[in-house]
Symmetry: C2
Subunit: 306 residues, 2 copies
């Protein structure tokens, strides 16, 4: 059973963890979002790919919800004491990963190769692929103007309403090597419980990925990121309300029109008006059992659709 998962950061990574518990980790390929990648102090940071790496390697900080466990902050605190604008949190261990990636990229390796090296070093058996090796960056159109993703998300704490999302570089971005092959060879396609606009949107903005999924011959199942119409974390609910007109399952599914066959939703939500098959379960992934239950719900839905 070979699965391809489209994933953003924390929510998608937790679902990925449930998935590799239910399946052979080596049979799972995760396509990660790079729309919120950024340069911090000249170092390339891939927040969502790094969250996937840390989570699947079992070194993520579960309590804080991002970054590495056992993290220290000496470098960033020193930089701040020396006058640097330390707006983006970089722990010392995290920085070590950024340095290792900088070395790869500095040698001219594409991001996908850098991530593969890091995954191997972290003992991650699952294949983690950036959606693209080309520059693709998420911008938010807001009443305050167009904002780069991290400017909006971190610096302004996603307080600005979003009128539209655009992906600079998407028109010319090619899927990273291995993505089309993974989609072609997959027995099912999954979309993690990530923000449809800013986590999954940038992946689907790569035209060849979107087309491969639209033309799939296997089931595709998404997991809603909402519980009772509210985002577990982040601005997905506010964005859905403003951009899709509501926070029900059908509003989530509308983001994946033609791309999914079923949607896993929480017991607290009503599948009213949902055009794809609903699978109802408890979707909050508070522990390993919960993660595996959500993954199995998605896998069963796919099996029923086959």
């Amino acid at each position: 059973m070979r699965a391809v998962l489209l994933s953003g950061g924390v929510g998608g990574a937790r679902f990925a963890l449930g998935l590799v518990d239910a399946l052979d980790p080596a049979d799972v390929t995760v396509i990660g979002n790079v729309g919120d990648d950024l340069e911090v102090f000249g170092l390339h940071v891939s927040p969502d790919l790094d969250t996937l790496l840390y989570t699947l390697a079992g070194v993520a900080d579960e309590e804080r919800g991002w970054g590495r466990a056992g993290e220290t902050w000496t470098a960033l605190e020193t930089a701040a004491a020396l006058g640097a604008d330390a707006w983006f949190q970089l722990g010392d261990r995290d920085l070590g990963l950024h340095l290792a990636r900088a070395e790869s990229l500095g040698r001219g390796q594409p991001l996908s190769t850098a991530i593969a090296r890091l995954a191997a070093a972290l003992g991650v058996e699952t294949t983690i692929l950036p959606a693209t090796d080309d520059p693709l960056r998420t911008w938010l159109v807001t009443p305050a103007g167009d904002l780069a993703f991290q400017e909006w998300f971190v610096r302004r704490r996603h307080a600005d309403d979003v009128d539209a999302v655009r992906f600079d570089g998407a028109e010319t971005a090619a899927p990273a090597p291995g993505i089309l092959e993974a989609l072609e060879g997959a027995d099912l396609i999954l979309v993690g419980p990530s923000n449809p606009y800013v986590s999954i949107g940038p992946i689907l903005a790569v035209e060849e990925i979107r087309r491969a999924i639209a033309e799939r011959r296997v089931p595709a199942v998404a997991v809603s990121p909402l519980v009772g119409g509210r985002a577990v974390k982040g601005p997905a609910d506010r964005m859905l309300a403003r951009l899709a007109g509501g926070t029900g399952p059908r509003h989530v599914a509308s983001c994946y029109d033609g791309l999914i066959d079923a949607l896993v939703i929480d017991e607290a939500d009503t599948p009213e008006g949902l055009a794809v098959r609903p699978i109802v379960t408890k979707t909050l992934m508070t522990d390993a059992d919960a993660r595996r239950r959500v993954a199995e719900a998605a896998l069963e839905a796919a099996a029923a659709l086959r």
Copy 2:
């Protein structure tokens, strides 16, 4: 009494510390070597300027002889565990400084501005100026081929004999802002006990700096880096033996032909054949008293020459 000091790393920085003990720190300008600057993981590192900053700020690791006191190594160890080539030692605190500098340089500030910001943040009253803001890099011509400075010094532990030294970019390098003014307004010019070829050489390779010193109207005094014909640290003695034909005071002075009026030498050395005035003292700077004694010997020599 306004003094300008030409300095490399550790030896020059210790002498600078003695000098700012003997003089008003604000009356001292240190011109630092940038020939051994490098990019590590995409971050600009200025080893000699950083040693000057740390030493004059009182945060240098005296025992190790380089880097910051109380250093930790989490980021580099993590990078190494992730497969990075951690050949160049970067502590977490040190990395913090490189991040802060990367921010300045990323904003288009010249290196001299970045260093001024860091010096101010570290509470250093002495002006520290890079010899130039332009790229100037030291290369060693060796039997094994041409080697970039850090490749030779760190990776190959300066084991290769040096047949010649060259400074890429020197022809077009301009003195950093403030250097010619400092030399013009100085009451004396000092050359620290640094390696004449690879620490002071890159500074003097900036033609306008060399000319300003050659045309000086004030005394110029150098401090020999050798004690009993041997380098306290590093390859200065081997280089002098091969490139200048010996390791006596006159061989050191030959590196500064026309640029100095006196040479401070150790009691263990003989000023035989020395064309400039010898000043004999104990030059080993083992503690604050010793540093101040060497600085005062140089200052007295300059006073006698005036």
